[in-house]
Amino acid sequence: MYTTDLSGKKAKPEAAITENPAKLAAFEARVAADEFIEPKDWMPEAYRKTLIRQISQHAHSEIVGMLPEGNWITRAPNLRRKAILLAKVQDEAGHGLYLYCAAETLGVSRDEMTEALLSGKAKYSTIFNYPTLTWADIGAIGWLVDGAAIMNQVPLQRTSYGPYARAMVRICKEESFHQRQGYEIMMHLAAGTDAQKRMAQDALDRWWWPSLMMFGPPDDKSPNTEQSMRWRIKRDTNDELRQKFVDITAPQAEAIGLSVPDPALKWNETRGAYDFGDVDWEEFYAVVRGEGPVAKERNQARVKAWENGAWVREAARVHAEKRANAKIAAE
């Protein structure tokens, strides 16, 4: 997920030892009582650090997530689709900004976060390192990727850090449009000509497994889940969310005559849930390491945008300075 812990390492437990025990206990009690922690409140350093990592990674995912879809804005099949896609991509930029703002309240600067993204030090969701080869991929992304994002983000509206929770409330309101427009694209293609239906099926085939990977490694390989759940910065485990996603999405595929590319997918009456096949975790870890199919292009696109925008930032700064000086001189 956008917020998956991609470090794979267990966080050092030192924080609990070095923090003031009375303050720590009061903090833990507040969090356990589902109270919101606000920027000026006392918080353990490890909580602050984990949140900065999680929120900035989430923000980066929104920003990089514009690239695969931006790729199709000029080639949307008609004006309606183009206007919708533009609005959707603009929403994602907004999501990135809400989240950068929330992270800034924890004491990290926008420049530090940008620098971490551009240098490749910061991670973002693995899903955006896959290419968008056809128009149907835009449908698959809205339906599956935004669908998975909703599943992860809805519980985060009740996350313990106030600014993050409030950003999530805004974001969730906008996400369901994203998912529905994607599903609508798939629905139309699936009901279209044979070639269009093949295109929709091909997109589902390519995006299904990477979408399941968005929820992160299996619970037994996710060492920081317990801590994050206790701190209410994660509210369901990776496997719980993945199961929920499969249960909701499989019937949606069936309803429009597409088939999920998993021969093991089968409704399990006793569990009241779908059984499904194993995710290729080797592929996931390779993408996390930066070996995703278009990881380099994504990074280059961000660096290029940053560098090409340098003169605009500089001009705006100089212009504002000049005007401020002129105002002082006139007074």
Partner: protein
Amino acid sequence: MHAADGKMALEHARDTYTRRMEGVSLWVLPSAQIIASDPGDAAALFAPAEDKIYRHPTFYKIPDGITHI
């Protein structure tokens, strides 16, 4: 918002905060100019709402049968 000046901040705010009819006006000011209360003072600032329960209409018991009040 991050912006070089007020006008640019307003333009960015328009792009970021008005996509879903969230408000009726935008105002921006430099964040350094904001004076905010300290969460440590929250008790003193917000307690009056809790200990003056007679400010709430439900504090007053009206007999059954009396309506529209």
